[in-house]
Symmetry: C2
Subunit: 532 residues, 2 copies
């Protein structure tokens, strides 16, 4: 069946057979993996995957069925699966089955969003999606907002800076100065570099948030020049929301524009109780808004909301084969200027199906679930004798925590804060994370962030994005981390290694990880199997 095409009236029958093979291989790979990620660490996983997928370009093919069965099984067995409750390192969500299923239609029909004659319906669906999301960000009668679909927050931030540069140029300036917090996502720096803009000026943060008084000071240095201030609603490391109203006030006073990177936090707008946390976002000229984080879409599902629809015209471009003047005059829509890409997958399709399937409230409920789970998880961390959560507010659905053992080690060393290799406590935190990865037990993130004493320390990070995992489902994770920290310290003390190991083994008979993992798996299955 390897020569069958996916479209037309016959494609679906071919796809039915082939996707059945894929689903079998996905299930088989998940069972073989038996955890949130494969055990053995990078070298072992690489060797096994390589053995399963080479030669990558054989002289003669092995057929569609064999290729799907083998390669999909290998990739499933070797996945870091965000649908596992112990996979919480990144803003890497478990996609909804409904969104993944809708995405199959995108692959099969293959509309390309750069011209009407490649995507007559998909283009309209995209327009409806972007209208709805633009209205969600910029409500009210005195705005005519628009939104663009992007490949993610990185492209949204890039386009935001590009639009700012072009507004500046249109006003006669040579460039635009970007000003952002030290808490901003690295894509802001990278976008400025790509676009040939000056290096962004840094605004100080305290407790993970931009300081309005620091912004005021920095903007004072750029009086008269076009400036784009980039604030964040949901920082990557801590999930914190910058003080948007205050920052918008400062920016306005200096005549600077504001862009808000709400790649993480944007979907709070789906929720009535949580939306007020983003108050002030509507004062931004552009807003980055991802739906492959708190929106449960497979990557990519990026959005850039634009307050003034006319701004988008800065991206317009003429290519006779796609948008000749006489075609446009004759009524063929011109979509080329809605992206910096040309051929473009209809990522709006899966978003459209998800918005309709769940509605605003359904999505809002799921966002609220994650926020609530994070608060409960932080409380459970603090209730654990060997762990503590970072003091202060929980950021959206991100919890930073640390083994108490790491604090004891940090206290024993006098290294400068922020250098994991120099501070023994930070080194323990990093080592615990890597050991859990190597053993295939948990995918936990890491973040440098201020402690209550103002020192920057390395923390373990749990980014809770699973729409159904509850804090109780994560008790096993806390035990894994605490035990791993204890074991690691034991390993480090060569003189007492033997007795520590024996002790750990004795303990493990009563409450071994494996049993915990089995229990968690049962929990997961129950959660998964619930009727919605």
């Amino acid at each position: 069946m390897e020569h069958y095409v996916a479209g037309g009236t016959q494609g679906p029958a071919a796809l039915r057979k082939l996707t059945s093979t894929v689903l079998d291989a996905l299930a088989e790979g998940a069972v073989e993996r038996g955890g949130p990620l494969p055990a053995g660490g990078p070298d072992a996983v690489t060797a096994e995957v390589r053995a399963g997928c080479t030669p990558m370009l054989p002289e003669h093919g092995s057929g569609a069925d064999e290729a799907l069965r083998e390669i999909v099984r290998v990739v499933a067995k070797g996945a870091a699966d965000p649908s596992d409750p112990h996979c919480v390192a990144h803003l890497h969500c478990p996609p909804l089955a409904v969104a993944a299923a809708a995405d199959l239609a995108a692959s099969a029909l293959n509309p390309s969003m750069d011209s009407w004659d490649q995507a007559p319906a998909a283009g309209i669906i995209e327009a409806e999606v972007t209208d709805a999301l633009a209205q969600l960000v910029y409500a009210g009668p005195d705005v005519t907002p628009d939104a663009l679909i992007t490949s993610g927050g990185t492209e949204s931030n890039l386009v935001a800076l590009l639009l700012a540069r072009e507004r500046a140029r249109a006003a006669g300036a040579r460039t635009v100065q970007v000003v952002c917090g030290t808490n901003a996502h690295h894509s802001v720096q990278r976008a400025a570099w790509m676009l040939g803009l000056p290096t962004p000026a840094a605004v100080e943060c305290r407790a993970g948030r931009m300081l309005p008084e620091s912004l005021d000071r920095v903007l004072g240095e750029y009086a008269g020049a076009p400036v784009l201030v980039v604030a964040t609603a949901g920082t990557t490391d801590e999930g914190l929301i910058d003080p948007l109203p205050e920052l918008a006030d400062v920016a306005a006073r200096h005549g600077a524009e504001l862009h808000v990177d709400a790649a993480y936090g944007g979907p709070l707008l789906f929720s009535d109780p949580l939306a007020p946390r983003l108050a002030g976002i509507e004062r931004a000229v552009t807003v980055t808004f991802d739906l492959h984080k708190l929106g449960w879409q497979p990557v990519a599902a990026g959005v850039l909301a634009v307050r003034d629809a006319d701004d988008v015209a800065h991206l317009s471009f003429q290519a006779d084969y796609l948008n000749a003047d006489d075609d446009t005059e004759a009524g063929l829509p011109d979509w080329l200027g809605r992206s910096i890409r040309t051929s473009r997958r209809p990522d709006a399709l899966k978003i459209a199906v998800t918005l309709r399937a769940l509605g605003r409230r359904g999505l809002g409920d799921m966002v609220e679930h994650c926020v609530r789970t994070a608060e409960e998880f932080a409380a459970a961390v603090d209730a654990h004798p060997e762990l503590r959560a970072r003091p202060g507010e929980v950021g959206i659905s991100t919890v930073l925590f640390r083994p108490v053992a790491a604090d004891r080690l940090s206290a024993d060393t006098s290294a400068d804060a922020g250098d994991a290799s120099a501070d023994a406590g930070d080194a323990l935190v990093a080592e615990v994370r890597r050991r859990l990865l190597d053993e295939g037990r948990a995918v936990v993130g890491r973040a440098l962030a201020e402690d209550a004493d103002g020192r920057r320390k390395l923390w373990l990070k749990a980014t809770l994005l699973h729409p159904r995992t509850r804090a109780a489902d994560l008790s096993g994770l806390l035990k894994l981390v605490a035990d791993c920290a204890t074991e690691h310290r034991a390993d480090d003390r060569a003189e007492s290694r033997a007795e520590h190991r024996a002790e750990n083994r004795a303990e493990s008979r009563a409450e071994h990880h494996v049993e915990h993992r089995a229990e968690d798996r049962a929990t997961e299955h129950r959660t998964e199997g619930d009727t919605p």
Copy 2:
């Protein structure tokens, strides 16, 4: 089922139900459409799609099954489907079912390619894919090539220019001057604009190909400055391949670097008889290579091959949460610098499955099929009394053709070439294309290109990418175009409109389009149903 996640051991069961709904809706929509694209033109299609998909963000959801059934049916009914033999406008391929099925695994598992702990296996599969493709472009013992996965030719060209800029900067220059043919894809201009480079200098073309002597002249103007020459292997308008060995010689003589945009032509390398057409490509520092054109992947499947693997380091970037130094030292792979994106879909997975399923020869055979079909189609055009193909070589799988009636009209007007609204013949060509689109009968492209007399004229364009359509399956398309041109001229002559219509109606009783379309559909089904 709208809250189920796609991963884990339970996701596949949820996906089995939901993808079944999707496949039913795809089949239903294709039957309802009954042709290569929906009839009625942009306004009618927009109205119907909008009615079927709004409200886009309801307050309460309608459930996964309803949302999938309705929205997928709407998008399928309103698709321009490249698996229909009459859908030939663009470099917009019908994706293989095996590739679309593999892509489902990407959506379900959602690996993100920016760190090992989000994609342990998918990252290795990508590395194997990029190694294989890098070797395909840059064979031989004295090179250490690499390749990057991109969102398509546009991003590949952007990254190629970015790498050139960074090489120039590393050598102490301020920027790089891009030099490209007037036949280059618009993304080259756009990339230079985005990156803040000088406007690309234009090299003259003759008969659609860059002139080495013009390149020599242009490069003479930039002596001493870093220059990147961009040549094309498979132009968008004509499918032509620039004279790569001669251009490489000229560039080398001037100390300029060469980039080849082989987004279209690159896959000729899979074929033993066709690969020699790309001789000289290995002299480029970078090569754009798309697999969502002659590679039958759903968008996106872009590649940028890089001759010197060390070059990729210009994209490296540090973000502590993704690639902290101590993690990298401890053996966690650092993948952040392999893209200008951060979160990134594993597009390599569908490519890997396709390479394995078909092998090099299977893909080569399909490329050869398209090239052969284009040659046969061009001959069939010339055999048609009312049509003629553009004189000269057929470009890869692209055939430009024109109703003879357009030539008669052009001869009657003395307008400047290249302005479709000013030349009556060109206006007829554009109108025929739009009418076929409006009537839902064919999706044919347009291109401005030189005729044998050296004048630039507007042509209809057929880009033949279907791996199983034969020239004989396209006879109906020729008749559609010829009849449409005749009808249109008739419509334009108000004084004789009535009799022409009657004549056309009489003719249509014997050989009506609808019957042709039914016949074509039968052909398509037969083609589809063949055992591979």
